[in-house]
């Protein structure tokens, strides 16, 4: 492997890792703060990707602005979706056992997948890279790297920073952190915890949808795409330590690198590497790399 191939693989693993982080961060938030094991989280990623495919042409037809206005509309819709879902399906589940939540969110996966199938069919679709970002950058003498992949990494980094800022520097972040530690205490201090949870859930959904929309041009859009990303994201969440954003970032980059380089260097064992890594890390540190709180 020469230097420029190595560099390209590094950029690829960075891009994949950051994308995983985006989906996993919503999962770890909902998990760590609300205590909900949300199997339907992968479906939100799938919904985002299908929005990029089906909604983008409609939106840019009405408002103009192409891909970027579609992103904005998609995120707004996702927040609404998350808000309504939390109210309808999750608000009564907090007192129940975790496994009831697993059952509920499994049911939601089936419903989302079938709604997708009813509305848009079961075909695999490609999504065009927005023309503004369609170029490539030269890398070394012969290699080039697509600008769009850099754009993905940039968006993910920006969101990661924004999340870090909200959590550590704002009043909302403080309330959320407090709510994850002691729900009753926060409630008795006069903070509307139900509203807070709804906001966290909506934000988690929005981030996953955004990740799906941004990823659609490079990953294509296909049935079942949510499930494969869901399992990998659970791996990320668990390696990082449940509820830890910092851990999720580190774990996502680690998984991104292991997966990308595994496919290049050890293609026959690429699939299993991620799981071997997870097993080793959890046997070494049974609570993940960074335990929250």
């Amino acid at each position: 492997m020469d230097l420029s191939t190595f560099l390209i693989q590094c950029l690829n693993s960075l891009q994949y890792g950051l994308l995983l982080f985006l989906v996993a961060s919503g999962l770890t938030l909902i998990f760590g703060i609300m205590g909900v094991i949300n199997l339907a989280h992968g479906s939100f990623y799938m919904i985002g990707a299908y929005m990029a495919f089906a909604l983008a042409p409609i939106v840019s037809g009405t408002f103009g602005g192409g891909f970027f206005s579609a992103l904005v509309v998609g995120v707004v819709l996702a927040v609404l979706l998350g808000y309504v879902l939390e109210w309808a399906f999750f608000s009564f589940l907090y007192e129940r056992e975790h496994l009831q939540q697993v059952l509920m969110t499994y049911g939601l996966i089936l419903v989302f997948e079938e709604c997708r199938s009813l509305l848009l069919g079961d075909d695999v679709h490609g999504v065009e890279v927005p023309p503004l970002l369609a170029g490539t950058l030269p890398l070394g003498d012969t290699m080039t790297y697509p600008v769009y992949r850099l754009f993905i990494s940039g968006v993910c980094l920006l969101l990661a920073l924004a999340m870090y800022w909200v959590f550590t520097r704002t009043r909302l972040g403080m309330m959320i952190r407090a709510g994850s530690t002691n729900r009753e205490m926060v409630q008795s201090l006069g903070i509307d915890i139900k509203f807070l949870y709804r906001v966290v859930f909506a934000a988690g959904v929005a981030i996953a949808v955004l990740a799906g929309m941004v990823a659609a041009p490079v990953s294509s859009v296909y049935p079942g795409m949510g499930n494969s990303v869901l399992i990998i994201c659970f791996v990320v969440v668990v390696i990082g330590g449940i509820g830890s954003i910092r851990g999720a970032l580190l774990a996502a980059l680690l998984i991104g690198a292991v997966d990308t380089f595994g496919k290049v260097l050890l293609p026959q064992a690429a699939g299993v590497l991620v799981y071997v890594l997870m097993a080793l890390i959890l046997l070494w540190k049974p609570d993940g790399l960074f335990k929250a709180g």
């Binding site: 998990f31 496994l99 009831q100 697993v102 049911g107 049974p286 609570d287």
Partner: protein
């Protein structure tokens, strides 16, 4: 009342071949195999409080072992293929359990998934089990001339006997001192340790027994279908079995039975073109909505239905119901 329900259910299953056609026989055989798998998981999740997300691996190992060992053609196959398949699944469960029981809660869920995925990729990516194509089972296990599992009725009755055996074994096990210790671990492991129980060996024993039973169901599945492929070990199956026992109601052996039957029969119902016509290909929608409805209205799973009805008849206010369960 619960005991008589189970006895009646097994009696009905035993009498079922008298009225069933070949399709019904095949379907119920399949469901009973899943019920064995669901019971094996119930021992971990419902009785011990260990949520295992890798049950498909033990199931798959039992199935693959059956097909690979039958290929050796050593004669009088039944006598040794069945125990060997069960043993292999149990050995893998022992190894997985020994390592993964170091972790707890969601971390345990994910470590068991990781080990199941490793087994999945071994059969998926190596020539050992025919890769993604899977392998066929050319001759079915038999014992003499009277127990030939190639005949659907014999297989049905054999599966029924296995299901009954596993059920009775678990019912007796859970009443024993060992089973009481598992229940104690589920409710409060810390307290169990404080009273002088070393909980780790109990959990490991439960994990191994569960793996062996899953291996048994894998054996039955391989014999019934005559074909194995890596999908038997995929996490989708682990998830589906987990869904079955939660749907049925955790903490009750009959919950696993009811859950397996409800899950499979709901699938058959929504897949039926006679009822839903063209919409039958969207059967996931109906299944998903039924599952959501069951979570919303049946917090204790399907086994909670009779209690719910009697309380409704007696006019117990909702608030009291919750307090009673809490």
């Amino acid at each position: 009342m619960n005991k008589s329900f189970v006895v009646a259910a097994f009696a009905a299953l035993a009498a079922f071949p008298l009225v069933a056609g070949s399709y019904g026989l095949d379907l119920v055989t399949k469901i009973m195999i899943y019920a064995v798998l669901a019971l094996s998981l119930e021992l971990l999740v419902g009785s011990t409080g260990l949520v295992c997300f890798g049950q498909a691996a033990f199931f798959g190992i039992g199935a693959y072992a059956t097909v690979l060992l039958m290929g050796l053609d050593w004669g009088d196959s039944m006598l040794w293929v069945l125990p060997a398949a069960v043993l292999m699944a149990a050995v893998y469960a022992l190894a997985v359990g020994a390592l993964s029981l170091r972790t707890k809660g969601v971390y345990f869920i994910m470590v068991t998934l990781a080990f199941a995925q490793m087994a999945y990729y071994v059969v998926h990516d190596t020539p050992l089990g025919g890769g993604t194509d899977g392998i066929y089972l050319y001759s079915k296990p038999a014992l003499g001339s009277w127990l030939d599992l190639d005949k659907p009725l014999v297989l049905y009755l054999f599966t029924w006997a296995c299901l009954l055996g596993v059920y009775v074994f678990l019912a007796v096990l859970l009443q024993s001192r060992f089973g009481r210790a598992l229940a104690g671990i589920r409710v409060n492991e810390q307290r169990m340790r404080a009273t002088g129980f070393s909980t780790y060996p109990y959990k490991l024993a439960a994990f191994t027994i569960s793996g062996a039973m899953a291996g048994l169901s894998g054996f039955l599945f391989a014999v019934k279908d005559g074909f194995v492929n890596p999908e038997l070990m995929s996490w989708h199956l682990s998830g589906a079995v987990l869904i079955m026992i939660i749907l049925g109601g955790l903490g009750h052996l009959r919950g696993a039975l009811i859950g397996a039957f409800a899950f499979a029969l709901l699938q058959e119902l929504f897949k039926s073109e006679a009822i839903f016509g063209n919409f039958a290909k969207h059967w996931h929608l109906g299944l998903g909505l039924s599952i959501i409805a069951s979570v919303a209205w049946l917090p204790h799973g399907l086994v909670g239905i009779p209690e719910k009805i009697t309380q409704r008849l007696r006019g117990v206010p909702r608030q009291d119901q919750e307090a009673h369960h809490g």
